[in-house]
């Protein structure tokens, strides 16, 4: 049985070859694209479960491709790049990527990142409530539907999982590491920049004034805390 369908977007043929051989060996179905343009074209027909996207490609490039994918889809995107500065990581996450892997990487690391990006918290945790409402924020955990300030809000799966974890622990500060591991998986914990970017994105979508958040507040040096509003 297929573990999922992955679209590999990279201009380097050898990387596509080794990706295909390895991922197929781990029960994934693999389709390929050489450029961002090609990827966007094949996306609606292929319907992959995840996109592995090279950052540095001729033509529209990884970041722009990622933004274009995000404009129409919530599909998990993992960016692959030879750059490893925090600035580049933040730029990729800001463009809507779910994760960022620096080239060259060991295949176990990549597989772990792929699993983390595809993983979603179960739609209704045992014993948890099915819906949540506070002030102008309404969340339906079952349908992953969010309304804020009277508008429907579209969250990516990772954004939704982050918001849900904070809501489940409303009123308590959630440490960075705990939040990272809850949303991305047990291999994570040293990527505070992920939280900075994702929390910002969620705030932009649910807060009336994202620079003065009233739902998700920062706990300096600790993490984040969800505050219920009446």
């Amino acid at each position: 049985m297929s573990a999922g369908k992955i679209l590999v977007v990279d201009d380097d043929p050898q990387i596509r070859r080794v990706m295909k051989a390895t991922l197929v060996g781990h029960s994934y179905e693999v389709t390929e694209a050489r450029t961002g343009e090609e990827a966007l074209e094949s996306l609606p027909g292929d319907m992959p479960n995840l996109v592995l996207l090279d950052m540095n490609m001729p033509g529209m490039g990884g970041l722009e491709t990622c933004r274009a994918i995000r404009a129409g889809s919530d599909i998990p995107v993992v960016i692959l790049s030879v750059r490893n500065s925090e600035k580049d990581k933040v730029a990729a996450l800001d463009a809507g990527a779910d994760d960022y892997v620096t080239k060259p990487f060991g295949i176990e690391e990549l597989l772990a990142r792929i699993r983390a990006a595809m993983r979603r918290s179960p739609s209704s945790p045992e014993g948890g409530p099915r819906t949540y409402a506070s002030g102008d924020l309404e969340i339906d955990f079952e349908t992953r539907h969010v309304r804020a300030q009277g508008r429907d809000v579209r969250l990516t799966p990772k954004e939704f999982d982050l918001l849900r974890y904070l809501v489940m622990h409303a009123g308590k500060p959630v440490p960075h590491r705990e939040l990272l591991q809850a949303v991305w998986g047990p291999d994570y914990g040293d990527e505070p920049e992920y939280l900075r970017v994702f929390v910002n994105q969620v705030r932009k979508k649910i807060e009336a004034n994202p620079s003065k958040p009233k739902y998700i507040v920062t706990e300096p040096w600790v993490g984040y805390r969800f505050v219920a509003n009446s």
Binding site: V18, T22, V82, S85, E86, K103, P104, G106, I107, E108
Partner: protein
């Protein structure tokens, strides 16, 4: 042409006299006034000389045909003498005045023409971009705009003379050189040569000569001065333009270097990505006898990757292209980030960061890279099981981070050179691990922060590497 005008003037006077003498009988006053009108007309149309000749003819004719005794050039009545003199003076004065007015008009017209030409010169000058051939192009512009037959330009800083037109030799090199030092230009109407210094403020840039045939068409001295000023501005502008494009091309060179470095990093890391992905994939299910060899490929791929990163980092530092993103950061954060980046199986390190330290102004990633490098060195060069201590403390306006080991220490003569690129201590010369760039990169990063890095060591006891970064007002939480 001139003779024709004289003839026409005389004919006009004769016509007036003939009409009044034979066709229409008029009195003396009417005849005199009509003649005056004719002379005014002549002087307005053609000038003073023609009017004067016409005046004399008119006076003689008037006397002969209208003053008693008629038919002679003698004057009988003394009253008529007065009238005759008045007539003569009026005719001459009127023609003088109108001649003067004509000259002024011609001068004004000439000046307007010169202004137009100067304007045209400025415009053609503005179209010139590069300094290449500016002087010779300017010479050609001047020739074209002012209708000169030849022109020459002496460029003092280069000592070159630019000439244009077959007769430009009329102004010799010596004349041009002398003019460059002269306070004012000169216009030689006989030879048809105008020559003027070209000056920017008090600095002489050379001189310029114009040769015109006919000589009367030479520009005025004011215009000559204006041309000289324009030449100076043209050259100065071209020089500034050159300088600007030079610094622009230097900037582009730097940008190109950085782009090359980035593409080098990319080009090396792309095949490494395939190798690493393939070998780690194989390692997963490899039998024990192959594991050792595959592990070697994996480790060496990592080493090549580090090497590429270090070469690029070193080149960036040397090109002054290290892009720091400084922010207030706690020393504790720098240290913990560095230790988190160490391999999971690394020896434990003791951390000893003083409480209540001010924040430092640094790029957290690069600062952590320095700590990591120092800790890696300490772990590498000290015996397993011996302690490695990372400390941070305040010294005046700086935060000093230190990494201490109980290794063999560094001999005094090697301490100064240990931060040099590719330097290896005598003891570790044949140690193949590492690139010999780690400490040089650390030094480059610290110095880009305006900080200092140094080592204190006691051979046989151990070494402490320190680096100091500027502290800022805030307190660490």
């Amino acid at each position: 042409m001139r003779a024709l005008r004289f003839a026409a003037a005389l004919l006009l006077v004769a016509a007036v006299l003939a009409v009044y003498h034979w066709a229409i009988a008029v009195n003396t006053v009417t005849a005199a006034l009509t003649l005056l009108l004719a002379i005014l007309l002549i002087s307005t149309l053609w000038g003073l000389a023609e009017a004067t000749v016409a005046s004399i003819a008119a006076v003689l004719g008037f006397n002969y045909f209208f003053l008693e005794p008629i038919g002679t050039l003698t004057i009988q009545d003394p009253q008529n003498i007065v009238a005759f003199l008045a007539f003569l003076i009026t005719a001459v004065t009127a023609s003088q005045l109108s001649g003067y007015a004509r000259r002024r008009t011609a001068e004004a017209e000439g000046r307007r023409l010169e202004m137009e030409r100067l304007y045209a010169l400025v415009q053609s000058m503005m179209l010139r971009g590069s300094a290449r051939n500016t002087a010779s192009e300017f010479v050609q512009d001047v020739m074209q705009v002012f209708g000169c037959s030849a022109a020459a330009f002496y460029y003092l800083p280069g000592g070159d003379v630019f000439r244009s037109g077959p007769l430009s030799g009329a102004a010799g090199d010596a004349d041009l050189r002398a003019a460059a030092e002269a306070p004012e230009g000169s216009v030689d109407r006989q030879r048809g040569i105008a020559i003027a210094p070209v000056r920017l403020g008090v600095r002489s840039l050379g001189s310029m000569a114009l040769m015109v045939a006919p000589p009367a068409a030479l520009p005025s001295e004011q215009t000559l001065r204006a041309i000289g000023n324009l030449a100076a501005i043209a050259i100065e502008r071209a020089r500034a333009f050159d300088e600007a494009s030079r610094s622009e091309s230097a900037r582009q060179g730097e940008a190109l270097k950085t782009a090359l470095l980035d593409s080098l990093a990319h080009d090396i890391k792309t095949p490494l990505t395939s190798i690493k992905a393939a070998v780690t994939s194989l390692l997963g299910g490899a039998p024990a006898n192959q594991r050792e060899l595959l592990t070697i490929i994996d480790e060496e791929a990592d080493r090549l990757n580090r090497l590429a990163a270090e070469v690029v980092a070193m080149a960036r530092i040397e090109a002054g292209k290290l892009h720091l993103e400084k922010r207030p950061v706690a020393a504790a954060e720098i240290v913990s980030n560095a230790l988190n980046a160490l391999p999971a199986d690394a020896r434990p390190v003791t951390v000893n960061v003083a409480a209540e330290l001010p924040l430092v102004d640094a790029d957290p990633e690069f600062a952590a890279q320095v700590v990591k490098q120092l800790v890696e060195n300490a772990l590498k060069y000290s015996p397993g099981g011996s302690p490695v201590v990372v400390s941070a403390e305040r010294r005046d306006a700086r935060i000093v981070i230190g990494v201490a080991d109980r290794g063999p220490g560094i001999e005094e003569n090697e301490r100064a050179r240990i931060f040099d690129k590719f330097f290896r201590g005598r003891r570790h010369r044949f140690d193949t691990k590492g690139t010999g760039m780690g400490l040089a990169i650390a030094k480059g990063i610290v110095e880009a922060h305006g900080g200092r890095i140094w080592v204190e060591s006691e051979p046989g006891e151990g070494s402490v590497f320190y680096f100091a970064l500027p502290a800022i007002g805030g307190r660490e939480n």
